[in-house]
Every structure is written in C-alpha cells, then in structure tokens.
C-alpha cells in the first residue's frame, strides 16, 4: 500500500536470554493509513505489545535484536539514531498504556505532566501557552472543570479519568500515530464504552492512525478497520474487520471466536476452548506454531508439523491467512463451527442436568 503512514515489514524482535533466544516477534508485516484503525489481537505472549513497543522505539537500551523495517511517513525507524526516535516519540507517535495509575507520575500534577509532554516538543511555547494547551486537552477528553483539575494529582482522579488524562497527554502534540495498548482492560464496562467512544471521536477529529492492541475481540470489532491476529510472534491472519468476523480463515481465530461467551447470540450450552496453552517463545513448535493446539492439523497430512505456513491471500482482497488447510476445507470447517457444532474433545463429562453426585 503506497502512501501508508506506517509500514512494518518483516519485523523481528528477538531477545537473547540464558535459556535461549526468545523470538517475541518473528516476521510481522502490516501497513496503516491515516485515519484508520488497526486492531492487533492475540493472547498473552503473542508478541502484540512487543511489536508496539518496537514501533515506539522503546526497546532501546535492552538486549533486543530488531531486524526488518518500520517506516513512519517514509522514514526508517529500525536503526535510527536514538535522538531522532526521541524527537518522533510523543510528537509524531504516541502511546496509551493499560494501567493509567502506574503510567502517571504520582508526584506531579496531571497538568505538569501534560505541559512537559508539550514543551519537550515545542520549546518555543511559553509556560502560559503550554498550560492553556493542557487545559484545552483535558477539556477535549471530557474532564469536567479542566481549568481546576489541571492542578490535581493522579490519585485524585478515578480510573476512567486517569485514562482520559493519559489520552490527553498522548494527543497533546497531535500525533499522526496513536498506539493504544489494552487501553480499557483495567476499566469497568460503562467506562470502557466512554473511553472507546472518546478514542474514535478524537480520531475522527485529529485524523490520526490508531493501533489498538487488545485481547478482547469485542473491543476490536467496535473500533478497527483492519485486524491482525498474532500467535507466537507471527501473523496468523490479517484482513479487514468485516472479512475477519464474517469469514475467519485461521483455526486460531475460530478458537478465539468460539471460546467467548456471546451476548448477541443464543446462549450456547458449551463453550469451545482452544486446547492446551500458548507455546514458549524459546521453543516455538516447528512447522505451524499453532499445530499442537489445532483441531484440524490432521486434515493436511502432517504438513503443519514440518512446514511453516506462509501468509497467503484468500479470495477476499487483502485478507491473508497463514494456514495449510485448503480454502474449501477452511470454509467447510468454519461453517460447521459457526453452526454450533461442538468438537469431540469438549463434550461434557456428564451431560448437563444429568447425574447427581
């Protein structure tokens, strides 16, 4: 996609440790245009946060070995000078973290912290101007009486309000790219709804590109235009939100969809979990990293145990899946699962309403 704001190409982020090489991110590519939202979905350890920290240049000073390309507005960030990354970070790209309490400094007022974020990148701004900017931003993110609250400390805000402060701080320099790493996981549902609405309102206003990292497919469906499903540091599936929810192509995506209880559907008697646990990133299974947990691995004659599946196009334009199953087989299996068929291994020990102990 030419003209994309952010292009990530074959990104690999590896950490050498005493136990071996941790391949947190292993060949991830995607691109993101202005005004659009990319949802990155995956379980803990799938590499979604490491990817975003990599984009922000926050692996500097660690042992991380980063290869591949990250281009922001055409400028290469892998291997760029730390000073240059510092200029970009907070100005052209900004990040919102999961836990707003530990990401705000408890000793400084929220106003001070927002003012600092602004003045670092706008040394010409006077104190008064920067302060006015902070008050404006707090108002924009829906903090009542911003001119008063600007002098409050983080502990005087509730969880939802702190997350709003974080968003104000991230947006104070009109970044072109905003990365939100599980921005609502620590919040209650009604507050989560407020914050998600706020992010999409501000995005419409500022036209920034947003990367939304989450494990919650519901949150992704609300906000994302495109979705990247990650598993064990690799891309399992990548495509538009509409395609991925209508015709998910990877058994891992099916697993994520089938294991969630759904409020918008008839209540199922049985959830279909993904068997097993995510693999260690030091010993990623050979072949398809998902094969030890895959119910459909036997359908392709053992290829998934030896051969790493490539990310290939499906019939939907731009929808790519890394799976050895044929397109016809995938369509058939997903149709069965979507129709509510429960695989053999998750049948109940005792049928519901059955034997008394």
């Amino acid at each position: 996609m030419p003209g994309a704001l952010l292009e990530v190409e074959d990104l690999r982020i590896h950490f050498p440790t005493q136990d071996g090489l941790v391949k947190s991110v292993d060949g991830v590519s995607f691109s993101l245009e202005r005004g659009r939202t990319l949802g990155i979905v995956g379980e803990s350890g799938s590499g979604k946060s490491v990817t975003s920290l990599g984009i922000m240049g926050l692996h500097q000073g660690t042992q991380a070995r980063i290869t591949g390309h990250i281009r922001l507005g055409g400028e290469e960030l892998v291997g760029a000078l730390p000073a240059r990354i510092r200029e970009l970070r907070g100005d052209k790209m900004a990040m919102i973290f999961q836990d707003p309490l530990s990401s705000l400094h408890p000793y400084f007022t929220v106003g001070n912290q927002i003012i600092e974020a602004h003045r670092v990148h706008h040394p010409e701004a006077t104190k008064q101007q920067a302060r006015q900017r902070a008050v404006d931003m707090l108002g924009r993110v829906g903090i009542p009486e911003p001119a008063v609250r600007v002098d409050d400390y983080p502990h005087q805000f509730s969880g939802g309000m702190r997350q709003r402060v974080m968003i104000a701080m991230a947006l104070v320099n009109d970044p072109e790219l905003l990365i939100a790493d599980e921005p609502t996981t620590a919040l209650d549902v009604t507050v989560q709804a407020q914050i998600l609405d706020l992010i999409s309102d501000l995005q419409a206003e500022f036209g920034s590109a947003v990367i939304m990292i989450t494990h919650d497919l519901g949150v992704v469906a609300e906000l994302s235009d495109d979705i990247l499903v990650m598993y064990a540091g690799r891309v399992a599936e990548y495509g538009s939100a509409a395609d991925i929810f209508a015709r998910p192509g990877h058994p891992y995506t099916w697993g994520l969809l089938a294991s969630m209880p759904r409020m918008d559907r008839e209540r199922l008697t049985r959830l279909v979990p993904i068997p097993g646990t995510p693999p260690s990133l030091i010993r990623v299974p050979p072949g398809c990293p998902f094969h030890p947990r895959c119910r459909y691995g036997h359908l392709n004659g053992g290829r998934s145990e030896t051969e790493v599946p490539e990310l290939r196009d499906t019939e939907d334009p731009g929808h790519r899946v890394a799976c050895h199953l044929t397109a016809a087989e995938r369509t058939r299996q997903w149709a069965l699962l979507a129709a509510g068929e429960v695989p053999e291994d998750v049948r109940e020990m005792v049928p519901r309403g059955g034997v008394e102990a």
Partner: protein
Amino acid sequence: MSEQTETPLARDGNGGQPAGDVLLRVTGLVRHFPVTRGVVFRRKVGAVQAVDGIDLSVVRGQTLGLVGESGSGKTTTGRLLVRLDEPTSGQIVIDGNDVTHLRQGKMRPLRREIQMIFQDPYSSLNPRHTVGAIVGAPFRLQRVKPPGGVKRAVQELLELVGLNPEHYNRYPYEFSGGQRQRIGIARTLALRPKLIVADEPVSALDVSIQAQVINLLEDLQDELGLTYVVIAHDLSVVRHISDQVAVMYLGKIVEVASRDQLYATPRHPYTVALLSAVPVPEPLTSGDGQRERRKRIRLEGDVPSPLNPPPACRFHTRCWKAQQICRTQEPPLAELVSGHRVACHFPENTPQVNEDAKPAAAAD
C-alpha cells in the same frame, strides 16, 4: 434497610423458583467500614457503605451470578458469604444454620461447607509449596484423613480438574495461569464443599483458557452437585454460567432475575446501560460498507463514592430517567413479574409496554 425480610417472597426463596431447597439465604446484609480520624483519640467520621442491606438466596445446585462495576460491593459480599469478613448487620443462613456471627473456633466446620476461588492464580498459591502441599492443605488443616491417604486424594483431585496427577511435586511457577487456576479449584474441592464462592474466577486468564475453566466449573457442578456464587464484571461470562443473576450498584442490589429474564428484558436502567455497554464481536457496517457505531446508552461520569452515596435511589445521579421522587424516596426491590425483582421507580421494559412473551418462555 431490610424491608424485604418479611415479605412472602423472601421466605419462599428465589422469587419464582421452587422454594424448599435454598442452600444459602442472606437477609439485610450490611457491611460498613468505619472511617476514622485522629491518632490518639480515634473518632469515627464516616463509613464506607460497601454493602448496604442486600437480600439473596441461592437454590442448591444452581449458580448465582453477582455483577457490578468496581465499588459496587460485590467482592465484599463474597468475602462476607465465606465469613472472611464480619458483617455489620444482617443474617447469613447456610443449609439452615445461621453462620452470621460464628466465633473463630466454630468456623472450622463451616469452612468445609463453603470455599472460595480467588481471582489471581498467581498470588493465591504459595510459591514455596508444591502442588501436593497446596491441594492437600485443607486435609491437614481440618485433620481429615481421606480414604487411601492424602496423596491419593490429591492426585484424584488433580485428575478431576484436568491436571496430570504426576505433577504432585511441582511448584506453582511451573504452571501456566490456567493451570494454576485449576490447582486453586482442586484445593477448593478437597473437602467437598456445598457452596463455592468464586470471585472473578476467569478474569485474569486469556480468552481461550477462560473457556476451559468455565467448562470445568460447569462439569464439576454437574458431577458434584455444587452450588456457586460467581462474582464477575464480565456480563457475557455471567450470562453463560448463571441460573440467577443479581446486579449490584453501590452496595445495593438493584435487580435480580433468572438469567434469561434479566438479559432478555432488563428492567433497571442501570442494567440496561450495563448491557448496552458490552462490546459485541461483530462489526456493524451500514449498506455502503462504512463502519457504524453501535447505539448504546452512555452513562456519564463514574460510580459515586460509597463513602457518601447519593440519597434515595443511588443511581439517580447518572440515570436518564431520574425524577424528583428518585432523589427523595428509595425504591424497594419489588417483584414486577414473577421471579424478577427491580428497585426502580420507573423501570424499563414494563409489562404493559412490552408483550412480555420472553420471560414465560424462559422459565428454564
């Protein structure tokens, strides 16, 4: 605050459910945490009204889901039920025995009947004990000699929750989050309790692992005839596992109903808002393929402080239907239709407006 205590409804149990086999009954339960000032002369300056007069009952073999946002008092309620905390007033009756103010020594037999599953599988297991020691601890503490010995009993428990019995000598760090939660569940089951209070049992787990643990809890319920009180903030999880659901707001129960009634026809405005806030994993697109935003009821602001809750109906500060009466008169938790109780002056989905076909079909 226990105006419901003497109504026939509270007596015959779970509003609409067949009476008689109620395992747990709670009436007028209150827990206020005093707030004090001063060092030498401590004086009480207020109280956090964490739980403020709730009535609940759970039928044997069923699951009650307790939902609410942070600060609603759901966790405090759970702790009161297992007597980890002393109620300020009210009554807790388990299987016909009043356990409200049991002294420490008398609590030991009670602990066999009620157990708790904790949220965080990392901090609720002692890292320096082996799995065998952790799961076998209840036997040791209660001086119970299971037939065949403790080791065998522990191995059976591990197998029951889907762990390898040979992992008896391993330490918690060798297990993943989902497996640790299974270890916690095995420990809970050791003494064959009647009632299990599970406080956010799956919220610390990944989605795919969540489903494994939910299925396990359901299987165990069927196999061992367990009764659950599940405290959770995730409304989809609660819908999946509960028979009855109680919604809490600022220390009060605002709505109780059977699962199908509550989710099909929520009546309290707070419940309606809560349900509409849940993100749905299905992108909404209009005809021309543009993204659309789901219509939801936006609640303004945050939950008020339980130190100084709003008078009368506690939800009136955030409610879009609030009228003068909501600020002056507390709405009682009244049964609108059979088995569905709501504390609201202006409930949604009222029978005369709605055709009310769903609750009948949802008798379950």
